[in-house]
Symmetry: C2
């Protein structure tokens, strides 16, 4: 397998156009003041299922053969990929089995179940890959990987094709594009899309402190692992960059940024107050870097991909209380 | 003065098109399940300044003569019209004086001040009309009324022109359009725009319990007043329907709906969970009616105007806690 080429990205975008939301590129004077430059926020939390993951899920499910669709699909996920695959499967009349950690946010577990998927919850200590492999062998399911899949990366690339048009419409041609980064599917897709469509927009991955495998791997020139496994930003705690995604990031992305949880909570509060958007922690780290690390970013404007909004009430309330 | 005609609405829409956000029409399967029909939500909380009021403010300020602009404008407002006028004035280089109650939500006071307006805070017992009249006499300011102004109504009508296109794109031609209603500027503008552009979309005003002056006035055939003056839904507690707006509502709108505060808080929590949108109480009553009074609505689909999102943290946290 290799990362998607321009033809696959274009074909996938065409398949997605009638079903995905073209999410708005928002801004607020108060955020510009905090960051000291224009801040433009692509609101992927408004995508179907509350995160960009629906794009990759739909791309992958819609690319399956009739025989594969008849047998069903399987995904493992902390909750956003789960919902993206579950909705895409339902739209195609395909059965979906989702393997999720039992300590995933309640909002994600409930929403995935409500989309009609069969949930298999597991202890963090268990290997989701092993659980998945057993179910795949038993039932002939097709695995939809969360990021190391050319179709999934091509689906996420549609964010970049939309952004290229929107940024140009805002008069922004030369800017850093900060993106919340777990396994790198969105980051790689975005970078591949912008390489052709807007080469002066520089993609930069943003990660939480303690889960900066991508930033460290980019510096080291080789894929490194995190030691920690659980944290605030549940959506993007992937232990190591993907095999397909990392070479794309090495070739196309600027250095990674790393954000303390305290700033992530502050970014969630700022999004609440000034954008009227609900962001989850893993969907807010890019905004946190734009607002609170302005010295690490170049240009008169900065673009932020606000990648998801599936957050439990208690965590959101904490952000409003602590993030002032 | 009379309500705007189709020519004024069209001319205003053209002036607004390059500056207002064409807000998205959103949906979520979970909301459809609660309401028992398709629910489509026009997210005016994503408009500049966090509410639809920027449309009317920009329409009015951009219609002023050079001489009027040089002297400045004045508005009284509980906070959303304040911000709409303040931003519109700043964009035109016009000085703005805003008369606001001192117990308005902190978020609204701070945001209005941050937009460069001169704030005059007053006690609820004082008459904002008298305070405004004195300042207008002293400084030659032009009053921008919150709803009883043809330009302001024409500005709010742009919501309806956008909605007509979006609803048709969603395959919805025959539905109730529920709108949060204070003085009726948005309701009247919407109804006038849809009268020509989508005559099978029926506009229906929604108000909080205790502030149902519009619903009662429509039933009685004459403008009645509320007795209460303060409540949860600060944005839409206008004591009585407008002189310009009420005849429009009588001619074009269906019966009003009235929502208890408890359901408004539940709607805010549902918007958080399923739309990832921050709504203020006064911007959530229409969604509350769609979700929790389905028997009062006709059709396979219902359209909701989510008119604003300027809410203090404490009130939002209360909605998340109580609105479960």
């Amino acid at each position: 397998m290799t990362a998607p080429d321009a033809a696959l990205i274009a074909a996938t975008a065409e398949r997605l156009a009638p079903v995905v939301r073209r999410t708005p590129l928002l801004s607020a004077p108060a955020l510009d003041r905090i960051a000291g430059r224009r801040v433009l926020v692509k609101a992927e939390c408004l995508q179907h299922t509350g995160s960009f993951k629906f794009r990759g899920g739909f791309a992958a499910v819609s690319a399956l053969s009739e025989a594969e669709r008849a047998r069903g699909v399987l995904a493992w996920s902390s909750g956003n990929h789960a919902q993206g695959v579950a909705l895409a499967a339902r739209m195609h009349g395909v059965a979906a089995v989702i393997v999720m950690p039992s300590d995933a946010p309640r909002a994600k577990i409930d929403a995935t179940r409500a989309l009609g998927a069969e949930l298999v919850l597991h202890d963090r200590a268990a290997s989701r890959e092993e659980i998945g492999a057993r179910l795949i062998a038993e039932r002939g399911l097709t695995l939809i990987r969360p990021f190391d899949d050319p179709q999934v990366i091509a689906g996420q690339a549609s964010v970049g094709l939309e952004l290229a048009v929107q940024a140009s419409g805002e008069g922004v041609r030369d800017a850093d594009v900060l993106v919340c980064c777990g396994g790198g599917g969105l980051t790689a897709g975005l970078a591949l899309a912008l390489e052709a469509a807007a080469p002066d927009l520089r993609v930069r991955p943003v990660e939480p402190e303690g889960f900066d495998d991508t930033a460290r791997s980019l510096t080291a020139g080789t894929r490194l692992e995190n030691t920690a496994r659980t944290g605030l930003c549940d959506a993007i705690l992937t232990p190591t960059p993907g095999q397909l995604t990392f070479p794309v990031l090495q070739r196309l992305c600027g250095p990674g940024l790393v954000v303390p949880d305290r700033d992530t909570l502050r970014a969630m509060a700022a999004s609440f107050a000034h954008l009227k958007l609900v962001l989850e922690p893993g969907g807010a780290v890019a905004l946190a870097a734009a607002l609170f690390q302005p010295q690490s970013v170049a240009g008169d404007a900065v673009i932020v991909i606000a990648s998801g909004g599936n957050v439990d009430r208690a965590v959101f309330t904490r952000a409003l209380e602590e993030g002032d």
